[in-house]
């Protein structure tokens, strides 16, 4: 038990030794910055451009190493390598823009070309270093998959510094970034320097990418930029909350990922961090209240129930009997495609709303309130039909077949005219008592 490693709790609370704590702190800050900066990359639909950018850093790293050692400096110095990474990363983005501007190729091809060719140049550079230099490329190819565990305190400080700068810059420029991300045309006509703001956004992406390649590797750093913001998008429609949540998700992924990977042998931190972020994404996709799958299906079920209950009440009213026989309900279920569990839910909802007094073997007993509702539905149905027949050419484009809204959508005058037309066809649709049309 003498050489037992630090426990999970110790690592989580930064008490697992200086180096581990440093790495955990660094990846947490990196996740925060990547999440925050990534929001705007996502809103500008540049997720995959960031991917090309991060792949394009490899030749820069190899070239910086060669250049530095040729000049007699230490090739493995982190600032030198990262400067090279920034240089070719930016070159890659410019190459994408040049391909889009000067050829007929589309964005997907441009991104793919830059991603693969730049990375190919990097692979050639790395293999050159490996084959022709006695000290080999050890330490440089770690950039491809990342090697959080072998980071030096100075590397972590550099990464943390870049991350903090990125977060602060985004916080300061939040208003400008938001404007350009949502409506760049408006921003331009109101006199904002849109190209400059765009450039700043991209520069922050470059900085965070470069800061992240050592920890998570250049293939996976793009995941830290994209996933937290896409996950946060499920939770909110507000930009400041989106930025905040993306930052929190990114930080949590960086923190948990680094802690978990430090506990397990041979688990590369980059992959674990990305998988943690993937877990956050899956959770958000399923469970987020604003746009998650569960919330959306509940909303859809609610809508279906409302429509189905209107159909049932309408049928009861049109039969002129408060007791809707079991056979009639069966017919409705067949025509409308209601499953048995759905029918149970439907009756429950109708009783809850007071539209149904009770249901027996004989059938469903509709309450007076339910019949009034049915009358209204029936009337609206007839009015809508008449409207579509005679006035469809002026139909507002987004009306749904909603019972509550018909009177709000159509003017009183038009409804009176529709009633007159219906009367001509011998159909009378009086409004229920206590309801004015």
């Amino acid at each position: 038990m003498i050489d037992a490693g630090p426990s999970l709790v110790e690592t989580l609370t930064f008490r697992a030794g200086f180096n581990t704590s440093l790495v955990v702190a660094g990846t947490t800050l990196l996740g925060l910055a990547a999440g925050v900066v990534g929001v705007f990359a996502m809103l500008r639909k540049r997720a995959l451009m960031a991917d090309a950018l991060s792949h394009a850093t490899l030749p820069g790293i190899a070239a910086a190493f060669l250049a530095a050692s040729w000049l007699g400096a230490e090739g493995r110095s982190m600032p030198v390598l990262l400067a090279g990474a920034v240089f070719t990363g930016v070159l890659g983005v410019l190459a994408i823009q040049a391909i889009l501007r000067y050829t007929r190729l589309h964005e997907d091809a441009a991104i793919g070309i830059v991603l693969s060719v730049f990375f190919g140049v990097g692979v050639v550079g790395l293999s050159y270093i490996q084959a022709n230099r006695a000290d080999g490329s050890a330490g440089i190819d770690a950039f491809i998959y990342g090697q959080a565990a072998s980071m030096q305190p100075s590397d972590v400080r550099l990464m943390a510094g870049i991350a903090i700068f990125g977060v602060l810059a985004t916080a300061l420029l939040l208003k400008e970034f938001t404007l350009v991300a949502f409506n760049d045309a408006f921003a331009r006509v109101t006199g904002w320097p849109v190209s400059l703001i765009d450039l700043l956004m991209m520069a922050l992406v470059v900085l965070v990418t470069v800061a992240g390649i050592q920890a998570v590797g250049l293939i996976l750093v793009v995941a830290l930029l994209i996933i937290p913001s896409v996950a946060a998008r499920f939770w909110t429609e507000r930009i400041w909350l989106l930025v905040l949540l993306a930052g929190v998700f990114g930080a949590a992924s960086g923190y948990l990922g680094a802690v978990i990977s430090s506990m397990l042998p041979r688990k590369p931190a980059g992959a674990v961090i990305v998988l943690t972020a993937g877990g956050v994404f899956a959770l958000s996709l399923i469970a987020a209240p604003a746009r998650g799958v569960i919330a959306a299906s509940f909303r859809r079920l609610g809508l279906r129930l409302r429509i189905a209950s209107d159909h049932l009440l309408e049928a009861a009213f049109e039969r002129g009997d408060h007791l809707l026989s079991r056979a009639a309900v069966d017919d409705l279920a067949t025509v409308r495609g209601w499953s048995t569990p759905f029918r149970v839910l439907l009756l429950f909802r109708l009783r809850l709303a007071g539209f149904v007094a009770g249901s027996t073997k004989a059938g469903v007993s509709v309450s007076p309130a339910g019949l009034a509702r049915g009358q209204r539905v029936s009337r609206n149905h007839a009015l809508w039909e008449q409207y579509l027949i005679s006035d469809a050419d002026i139909a507002p484009s987004h009306v749904d077949w909603s019972v509550d809204q018909v009177e709000h959508v159509l003017s009183d005058e038009l409804i009176a005219r529709l009633e007159a037309r219906l009367a001509e066809r011998g159909i009378s649709v009086p409004a229920p008592a206590g309801h004015s049309s």
Partner: protein, 463 residues
């Protein structure tokens, strides 16, 4: 610095070169449809995300059997497409971000599985997935004579010297010596290329319609999305067949670059496919040779061949962007220059005609310079004199009889357009000049029985 040197060695170079070539041709063929459908990055995504499929297949089959690997990769490839669609639809996420989320998570899963101890001590590591191991495909016992070339066993491999076993103890005294046939990776790649050609050949008509107009394909009664999934399966298959030999980075490059380069050379699909295959072959062979030849100029060791092929594909693309005879920058610049010259010539003739109308047949050059500025005037005057449309005498420019006719025709077009715009299109007379100024350079003209334009000027009669 010395001359680039490359010595083809059957033992060392035959199979690596062949593997690169086959991978490039197979991916290059399929890539045409990805680039046309604007889903090139699906190739990128799939070649990242087949990784976990491969590793899981490996764990289940516990061997590197090509069939297991293929099934694993195909399942992972389809899973990628399905997951991307799911994330797009369920989460209302834009396609790029959806792809990014799915493939990075799957790739991370693959890296994690590979690094896990169970897979660690077998020969499957993340680096070889990226760069491939072309260099390991050398032939231990190459053919020595032409006779051998025509013998089947040369290619399938055979035992040269059987193992010697001690009959009493059953102990192997000396293990067998084999003649190694064609490497398995090359066979797999050849099968993949044949399958890809069969797929494209059999479904060419359907692929073509689906590439340009998926909605039309669906209304014509064949299932465009089934075709899409089939294409994705082939992309996944090409990825898995290639990755061991050439690595996924070359797969991505060859799926996109040759087709994109070909797209700059032609507007016809068949020609595009032919060009893309030519570029794929050129990039793979050129890249392979350059990997050895270029470093040799400085007496250095060869570099990674797969990476070098990728770079060669990029170089070819750059060349095509600049000098393609159809869509290249040079051709477009020349075309633009010619158009500018012809417009300037038209403007010059029209200006001289207007002066002549006002009784000034000889115009000083300096006054023309105000109408047709700078270098354009020099070029227009040069052209006009070469075609015998104007004379330049003592700084005075005058139209020749042919020049007068040509200038008249331009002015006629200009004024007919003005008349048309006012009378037929209801544009106010003071707004028509700018439009007519552009339309006068184009051959068609409105056919109107008018003698004067909206400003009361005479329309010259047609010739």
């Amino acid at each position: 610095m010395s001359w680039p040197a490359f010595q083809f060695d059957v033992a060392l170079d035959l199979f690596p070169m062949l593997a690169g070539l086959l991978a490039a041709v197979g991916c290059g063929l399929l890539g045409n449809f990805l680039v046309l459908r604007r889903i090139s990055l699906m190739g990128d995504a799939i070649s990242h995300s087949v990784l976990p499929g491969l590793v899981i297949a490996f764990l289940i089959a516990t061997s590197r059997s090509p069939l297991a690997m293929f099934v694993g990769a195909a399942v992972a490839g389809i899973a990628t497409v399905v997951l991307v669609e799911l994330v797009k639809k369920l989460g209302r996420v834009e396609p790029g971000a959806a792809m990014g989320v799915v493939f990075s998570v799957l790739f991370a899963l693959g890296v994690l599985l590979i690094e896990s101890a169970a897979v660690r001590h077998v020969d499957l590591d993340a680096d070889c997935v990226l760069h491939g191991q072309l260099e390991t495909l050398f032939w231990t016992t190459p053919v020595q004579s032409w006779d051998e070339v025509f013998q089947l066993r040369t290619w399938t491999g055979y035992v040269i010297d059987p193992a010697v076993v001690n009959p009493e103890t059953g102990e192997v005294v000396r293990s067998a010596i084999y003649h190694q046939g064609v490497p398995r990776q090359v066979v797999t790649l050849a099968v993949m290329v044949l399958a890809a050609f069969a797929f494209v050949g059999l479904l060419f008509k359907e692929l073509r319609i689906a590439a340009f107009d998926p909605a039309l394909a669906t209304t014509l009664g064949f299932n465009a999305s089934a075709l899409h999934y089939a294409l994705m399966v082939f992309v996944a298959a090409a990825t898995v067949a290639s990755f061991e030999a050439v690595g996924s980075i070359l797969v991505i490059a060859m799926l996109i670059c040759p087709a994109a380069t070909a797209r700059l050379m032609t507007d016809r699909l068949l020609a595009q496919i032919a060009w893309s295959l030519a570029f794929a072959i050129a990039a793979s062979i050129g890249g392979y040779v350059a990997a050895t030849a270029i470093p040799s100029m400085w007496g250095k060791e060869p570099v990674n061949a797969a990476g070098s092929m990728t770079v060669a594909a990029g170089v070819l693309l750059t060349l095509a962007i600049v000098v393609s005879p159809k869509h290249g920058l040079v051709v477009r610049a020349i075309r633009r220059r010619r158009l500018a010259a012809s417009v300037a010539l038209d403007d010059l003739l029209a200006a001289l005609f207007r002066f002549a109308e006002q009784g000034e047949p000889k115009v000083p050059r300096a006054r023309l310079a105000q109408l047709v500025p700078g270098i354009r005037l020099d070029r227009a005057l040069g052209l006009a004199r070469k075609r015998d449309l104007v004379t330049l005498d003592d700084g005075l420019v005058a139209l020749t009889p042919t020049g007068l006719d040509t200038g008249g025709a331009i002015i006629r077009r200009h004024r007919l357009w003005e008349t048309y715009l006012v009378e037929q299109a209801g544009v106010s007379p003071d707004h028509v000049h700018e439009t007519a100024e552009r339309l006068e350079h184009l051959p068609p003209q409105p056919d109107l029985p008018a003698d004067t334009d909206p400003h009361g000027k005479a329309i010259p009669p047609g010739v």
